[in-house]
């Protein structure tokens, strides 16, 4: 089988944890299928991370320092053509969503997205499970040799220590890019830092109306907690972006995460599943949030919040 290609993503000058996870699994799979691991990174800043990636070989598409989708895709396709890849692994992040489906379609390779497990099977193929339908169902998928797989970050742990040095080859990508970077935008830090709170009262679309946020504010005050939320609450303009937990928001690990009216979509879980204690209140007993919560109840959050606030001696 051709090599296993791992596309590495950088996060503030270091390899992202999701990339390290992929490299760990790639090394195991490569051993099982008697092949090699080849890493691909973008931008000069990735050179060091590729050198200590533990891969057998690495390509660096230098050029622009920041990620540009079209350039990254051209580089990945060039690597696939040069190496006859047996498997292509990307994190299911923005980068993976850009490059995974497009490369699979352009190169005529099968594609499996949202994977949470990946194993080798005899005869040179793989088997994956994917989280679909907002995490309500799991699909077990036969992954043929040559497939492109995007993996949800945090699906398995990364190896602690990686030894050896990986030779890094420079990749020259031909052609002009139809897309150019205008500027990068740093996160808006907002009024509070939800990543520092011990207790988060986190509201989802179940809050139904912005007027009901007052109930969450009162509860948070009585608890000495901070209010955070799921993405739709931010998109509706009800709370500022700095309060958002999840894939495109903040990753939080409070002592207590109280999820109120949050379904538990994979993109939300990614940002809070390592909280010490998770309590979920959701009227739907099949909501995926209950898979990660330690305690749960199916009562109405609008009814619960004022009662809880009162019991805690707040807002009378």
């Amino acid at each position: 089988m051709g090599p296993i290609i791992v596309v590495v993503e950088m996060q503030s000058d270091a390899m992202s944890p999701a990339s390290a996870e992929l490299l760990s699994r790639a090394r195991q799979l490569a051993r099982a299928q008697s092949t090699r691991v080849v890493a691909l990174g973008f931008g000069e800043a990735a050179r060091g991370a590729l050198g200590s990636s533990g891969a057998d070989d690495a390509f660096l598409a230098a050029g622009a320092d920041a990620y540009v989708p079209t350039q990254a895709e051209a580089a990945l396709r060039q690597v696939l053509q040069e190496t006859a890849a047996g498997l292509v692994l990307l994190p299911n992040t923005t980068m993976g969503m850009d490059l995974g489906a497009a490369t699979a379609a352009a190169e005529g390779r099968p594609m499996v997205a949202y994977a949470t497990s990946l194993a080798a099977v005899e005869g040179g193929a793989f088997k994956a499970t994917s989280q679909v339908y907002g995490g309500k169902l799991v699909a077990e998928v036969a992954v043929p040799e040559g497939s492109v797989v995007t993996v949800l970050p945090g699906s398995w742990p990364a190896d602690e220590a990686v030894s050896g040095t990986t030779p890094v080859r420079d990749l020259v990508v031909a052609g002009e890019s139809p897309m150019e970077l205008v500027r990068t935008i740093e996160p808006d830090t907002g009024d509070v830092d939800i990543t520092r709170a011990d207790v988060l009262v986190s509201v989802g679309r179940g809050i139904q109306d912005p007027d009901n946020l007052e109930l969450a504010d009162e509860l948070a005050e009585a608890l000495g907690a901070v209010v955070s939320c799921s993405r739709p609450v931010v998109d509706a303009g009800w709370l500022p972006r700095a309060r958002q937990v999840g894939k495109s928001g903040q990753t939080v690990k409070p002592k207590l995460y109280l999820a109120l009216g949050i379904s538990g979509a994979p993109e939300h879980l990614q940002g809070m599943k390592d909280s010490e204690i998770i309590v979920a209140i959701n009227s739907d007993p099949t909501a995926p949030i209950f898979e990660v919560a330690h305690y749960g109840a199916t009562c109405d959050i609008l009814e619960l919040m004022p009662i809880l606030t009162e019991r805690l001696g707040g807002a009378d």
């Binding site: 992202s16 989708p69 079209t70 992040t93 923005t94 980068m95 969503m97 490059l99 489906a101 490369t103 699979a104 379609a105 352009a106 099968p110 594609m111 997205a113 989280q131 679909v132 339908y133 995490g135 309500k136 169902l137 799991v138 699909a139 077990e140 992954v143 139809p178 897309m179 150019e180 970077l181 990068t184 935008i185 740093e186 996160p187 808006d188 207790v199 000495g224 998109d235 509706a236 303009g237 958002q244 495109s248 928001g249 990753t251 002592k255 207590l256 204690i277 007993p285 898979e291 990660v292 330690h294 305690y295 109840a297 009562c299 109405d300 009814e303 619960l304 009662i307 809880l308 019991r311």
Partner: protein
Amino acid sequence: MRIAVLVKDVPDLVEELELDESGRGLAVDDLSYVPSEWDDQALEEALLLKEASGAHVSAVALDTGDVDNMLYTALAKGADRAVKLVGDYDRTLPGRQRARILADYLAGAGYDLVMTGVQAVDDLDGQIAGLLGGMLGWPHASVVRDVAVDSGAVRFVQEYAGGRMAEFRSSTPLVLGVQAAKKPPRYVPIARIRQVSRSAALEEVEAGGSPSESLAAIERLYRPEAQGHATMWDGDAEQVAAALVALLDEQHLRS
């Protein structure tokens, strides 16, 4: 700027998801469907672009079932045209094959910008924006917001983890997977949609049958096995509040 917005409906996650007898798919006829929420965001962003800079917006759907109402809704919201790609296929058509049919249509239809939702709850075989970008050989980006027309080119912002973002400028034709519109999607009353469905016509375009695409096959579809399901507190809100306060006390989490 000629914009195509691709719309589809997906199983409503609020309802129970029944599996079919094979255990490899959903019992598609027994489910209820809702428009994919991110497609709604894409349509809204396109309509806002039209209002800001005079774009021509077409809503495009593959006729895999009951898509007429979705298309009339798009017209009622302000789309200029609604296109239904008809052919011999149904809801079980895998995403990859849907993408091929859409790509074949889009390749010759003269659009500058194709917008679609960033993902759909059922697109396990890859997100449609990326698939189309790859099939058409057009530039594309996912997880996009704040789309603007800039002297024949398109500017947009792409989101990354932790709230980081980057702004790009791209030539057209271009495919964008839209995460969120600048404003929450507009609402149109049902009476208005009914009115449009009586006065406006959907444009039907004959598209091909099920094309061949390389497949990764589902072997089993199942509900997550409760690895560590929550300990559930029964009872009404009063009882749940009491249980929660007891937990807070036990964990010394009361301020």
